[in-house]
Symmetry: C2
Subunit: 380 residues, 2 copies
């Protein structure tokens, strides 16, 4: 590997987010370095500067960080104290530990959001079945139990309808918190970026459609969303980014309820709800994240088509993904396909597709057709 | 480097065209391999599977090609007989030698275009000053002398106004041909793709603006071009692709003259006149090239904005390109910047910028502002 010409950004983790960041890095002349567990990983397949090592080991992280102009993350599992140590060494880590902890620890997140007045469901740290029963006495069943750390894609979340169900979750020994079940109408997400010098931008509010706790579809912009509610959602997300001192991207997942918006989860990195921006916005979320962590002025978040729909590809039973390319590309020359370079396993996110146009129903049908065919080989 | 999951495409050469192809390969799940002269090269900096070697050596090429599902090119300098040998070994080389020779050898190109009735200027193979004088006697001065092989970006082209000037060019010993000087109104380019099974698509006709023989600006679509003339230009380009058996991309550079279109040059690879498609078309030329060489159905060439302008960044005196990022990004959040990871040298193509919008004058001014500032540090 030759010496760098452009700024070097180190990404800890080498999944599909780091992989897609490479597309933006190539354009910006940013030299991407990834810390991977294995050379098989999604991003390691497409990047020249791959370092192998364990992100839980501080010495590995310190060695990795040498020569990087900024350090950022593909996932939220790096120990908070290691991030603090890297910053103490003088490395520019974005987001910083004090911000990132809100995406790592759901109880810390709820405490802080409650303190700044962002809309949250009733919630409480709990340790025993009695705690859950008391919480349910005040807020009713079901009670949503969440692992305080480490959950994603529906893992680490249990909707409990009785003390018996809660007892089973508690028996796993995972530190938990309780949240009231929110009877939502739909789920929205707001993706914002904030740079170290404090510039913020917000992408249009999108609707996310989940199945079994996994996002399957993103509709941009959120269909039929009232302009005032959209602006409110963006204000909430920008305010959280500001108050928490986020540097880089922040995705705020929200429930739309009959009585208004409720914040569900935070992520501080490029996010599945923003994959549509690669083909559908003037600045992709991956470019935006690089600009933010390098403290460069942020790019236009405007859409390049009136309606954009992203659908995730989930692994099916047939591992031969590429044999299904021909039909999808011939059927719809306007569809954009993104494969993550991952072996197909049932239910695994292995890619996504994006469709654009003027009419939501038509665009959504096209995205679905491609996603179902690529995932399952089924012609819908 | 781990074993491949997706199709493997080998690119001979590791310049900016291979570099930008990597962005498309990442999305398609195509594993790109490049043959580079050095690990410093533009594409070698952003690709995991880099092989070092000399593209003029057949044994190197054969070793490089092993395991590739398709072989293609970053440049047109690979010896025709080596390409033929690789195809003889059973490798899928696109474009093939019989097509590519028309982009390698200008006299072969003119013979073939004349045979299929594509519009050419008067031309002739020449060897002596007497040949040039005879040609000038029929077609007038100036006479354009061109190196039959190896020229690009204005190199290998001499506009001679006298027998004396022609004699100086002949004295270099380079094999030459003569063409009549075409009094053109402007230059147009048509980029088409053709796949091995014969599907063709054409991008909108663009206007290219040159300075000192180097393309500095591309306007998409070509402003004020009559619809019939645009269709004619596309028909000419698609017909050449078909007649020559091109597989992959074909860029046809044309002169627009008072008496109609004249074909100037051919390139069989992604081309500078198509860089606008990365941000400005639904399918970038790089994705289109990969789809074509893998014989996948081709993608939509439609534009994602009414007007798109691309401006090249040429190296200036100040090597510190990145220090000028801040102003350009802050000034225009909608501008797209592409750096090629090359050391700055005066006059060298080191990147490009793209702007979009509805109004040509405004979009062109934005692209120029960014290009001049990034290239020269001058605020226009």
């Amino acid at each position: 590997m030759a010496g760098p010409i452009g700024p070097v950004v180190g990404v800890i983790g080498a999944g599909q987010l780091a992989r897609m960041t490479q597309q933006a890095a190539i354009a910006l002349g940013v030299e991407l370095r990834v810390l991977a567990n294995s050379p098989d990983e999604s991003a390691a397949r497409v990047i020249a500067d791959v370092r192998l090592g364990d992100y839980r080991d501080l010495a590995t992280l310190r060695d990795f960080a040498k020569g990087c102009d900024a350090i950022t993350f593909d996932h939220e599992h790096v120990p908070t104290e290691h991030i603090r140590a890297l910053a103490g060494d003088g490395f520019a880590v974005h987001p910083g530990a004090d911000a990132l902890v809100h995406a790592q620890d759901k109880a810390v997140m709820r405490e802080r959001l409650t303190a700044i007045g962002a809309p949250c469901p009733p919630w409480r740290r709990i340790a025993t079945v009695a705690d859950v029963e008391e919480f349910a006495g005040e807020n009713g069943w079901p009670v949503v139990l969440k692992a305080v750390r480490g959950g994603y894609d529906g893992r680490g979340v249990w909707v409990c309808r009785s003390a018996q169900e809660a007892a089973e979750v508690l028996a796993t020994g995972v530190p938990l918190m309780a949240e009231a079940f929110v009877p939502f109408e739909r789920e929205l997400a707001v993706l914002v970026a904030r740079s170290p010098h404090g510039q913020g931008v917000s992408y249009p509010v999108v609707e996310t459609v989940q199945r079994d706790g996994i996002c399957v579809e993103v509709l941009a912009p959120a269909p039929g969303l009232d302009a005032e509610e959209a602006a409110q959602a963006q204000r909430i997300a920008l305010r959280i980014a500001h108050e928490l001192g986020v540097t880089g991207l922040l995705a705020v997942e929200m429930f739309a309820t009959a009585s208004g918006l409720v914040v569900n989860e935070l992520a501080m990195r490029p996010h599945n709800s923003g994959h549509w921006t690669i083909d559908g916005a003037r600045t992709s979320q991956f470019e935006q994240h690089l600009r933010a962590v390098l403290d460069l002025p942020l790019g236009s978040p405007s859409m390049s088509a009136p309606v954009v729909v992203m659908a995730n590809l989930l692994g099916g039973d047939d591992p031969d993904l590429f044999s299904r390319y021909e039909h999808v590309m011939a059927h719809d020359p306007g569809i954009k396909v993104h494969f993550y370079g991952k072996e197909v396993r049932p239910g695994r996110k292995i890619g996504h597709v994006t469709a654009f146009g003027d009419d939501l129903d038509e665009v959504r049908a096209r995205a679905r057709h491609a996603a179902v065919y690529l995932s399952e080989g089924v012609y819908t």
